[in-house]
Symmetry: C2
């Protein structure tokens, strides 16, 4: 097996698939694409436009060929000779299994098949495959061309050599692969996001705050800490000289304080959907999603450039990318 | 009642109290301090040093008098003539109530008494006060001199004119006050943090990831989004043209997927404390808390300067502060 990944195919080109495509393009990797849905090509054009804008700000002196891809109407020519196939089709096990069946007919046994699923366990995905040892989850985050994190998760039958190869590859394209040694549904990031989301729904439903106030509480508060240190290192820093042990002993008991009642799941009825939708509309203040995407990307670039100044966290990847010579 | 807050007293000068002190100092507000504990003055010196370093980077041309405070050994001279008294003593209702009893003996009925509590409801705090109408919670975030958010919460007996006055005051010192209209234990930010924390403990306990991997998953992933847009606006942006309603209808059912079993509280025993403490020690890689604080502050400054470039979120406050004329 060659150690290099040169030929990449993207199966499914929605928001996530298109984000993978441009992540590869800005790293001088040619991409073959298969997506039979009518809206896919238009979506890709928008994502290319967004990526162009963002990378002009990130790396003003870098020349990027944004036409370095081919679009196919059938799956077989798209995956021919591929070293890596990234699947980003809808989140249903049966749809994904069907795609894997198709793929396995036309590609080598050495080709890595990586699923972008945000919730399904790799052991379930690989269950009916002929060569399940090269199947794994590589769960990215929106927008894929700007958020470096990718969760890498193997199933029961996945062989480590394939995991190792994809981790090296992701490192080479300035992503941050985190290999989870145990698989659980939804992996790690979405577990945390789900916990916050559940609590957020209660807070809105109970009228404690509005969506706009909640967002302000995050982005003017702990969001500024999470962008750099995450959960544990932040608390370690706040713990003072007593260290993590003292912090844990001090705050541990809080877990059983009265607000744990909020661990129930709120009923997701029309009333709650209306409440959130209306508050969110008001909060967006007329900004279209296209405009919001541009704002988000501009901020993601500047925040990472800021961390680059301190050679810290996500900024280290940018610094590394900047000094790396072109191939 | 005068509309201006000129004289501020800080009762309790630990990490949070000292953070309040320097937040006031950088805004040219003189502070009187009362804290009888032996370590308080040393702690304040460290916080002043950290604040100096951070603000030199934030506002290089600004002259700040970091000696504009007085330290008292008794409570009465510290609060004499105060327009605002900020209480940051340990998180116990009985201790806080005792302090309020002392305070009320020596200050005017018009003096605002604001508690930094991160969990106790203002209605409980004001329960035994002579003039409970001027008591409220103003919950800040560590480090107070760099994180703009402050949750403002009144109790049953709090009068709105006092809330209004303190909100105007916080705005004038470049903070972001969010007024919560209903009180609940732990307010909003700490509810969200508690939800993440609970889930994090499970993930570590179950061996899904280490503290270092979890932190990387946050800071290379959604932390970069939270620093600018928060929870709802981020999802709105990701939702695409279908808008928030489509997003909710699509993802709502996930709430009852299998991982909701993780809503239980993990047992906080020695084994879990050891596991987290050891992983956190390894992650810190020999960096002292003092060093970690410096790193955190440097990043907080750069991230907010980055957002300032785009005049967005927390960066708007910095931009506003920069153009504001000295008094």
């Amino acid at each position: 097996m060659s150690n290099k990944i040169n030929n990449v195919a993207c199966i499914g080109c929605g928001t996530i698939g298109a984000g993978w495509v441009t992540r590869f393009l800005v790293n001088q990797i040619k991409v073959k694409i298969y997506d039979p849905t009518p809206y896919a090509e238009t979506r890709l054009e928008i994502v290319i436009k967004n990526t162009k804008r963002a990378y002009k700000n990130f790396f003003p002196n870098k020349t990027i060929n944004f036409k370095n891809f081919e679009y196919f109407n059938e799956i077989s020519p798209a995956i021919e000779n591929a070293d890596l196939i990234i699947e980003s089709v809808p989140e249903r096990l049966d749809i994904k299994q069907k795609i894997f069946e198709n793929i396995e007919e036309f590609c080598s046994k050495q080709t890595i098949i990586a699923s972008s699923t945000s919730g399904i366990k790799p052991t379930d995905l690989q269950n009916e495959m002929k060569n399940p040892e090269r199947l794994m989850v590589t769960h990215p985050f929106n927008p894929v061309y700007l958020i470096p994190l990718v969760e890498v998760v193997g199933g029961n039958k996945t062989e480590y050599k394939f995991i190792k190869k994809i981790i090296d590859f992701f490192n080479s394209i300035n992503m941050k692969p985190i290999h989870l040694k145990k698989e659980i549904e939804a992996f790690v990031a979405d577990r945390l996001l789900e916990a916050i989301w559940r609590e957020s729904l209660w807070l809105i439903k109970d009228g404690i705050c509005t969506t706009s106030e909640l967002d302000d509480i995050v982005r003017y508060g702990f969001g500024l800490r999470y962008a750099q240190m995450g959960v544990f290192q932040t608390y370690r820093t706040a713990a003072g000289e007593g260290g993590m042990r003292k912090f844990l002993e001090h705050f541990g008991p809080c877990l059983t304080w009265p607000w744990t009642k909020l661990m129930d799941v709120p009923e997701f009825n029309d009333e709650l959907i209306d409440l959130i939708t209306n508050q969110s509309d008001q909060q967006a203040n007329g900004l279209s999603v296209t405009k919001l995407e541009q704002i988000r990307d501009k901020n993601l670039v500047e925040i990472q450039k800021a961390l680059e100044k301190n050679n810290y966290g996500a900024g280290r990847l940018i610094k590394k990318a900047r000094v790396k010579k072109s191939p």
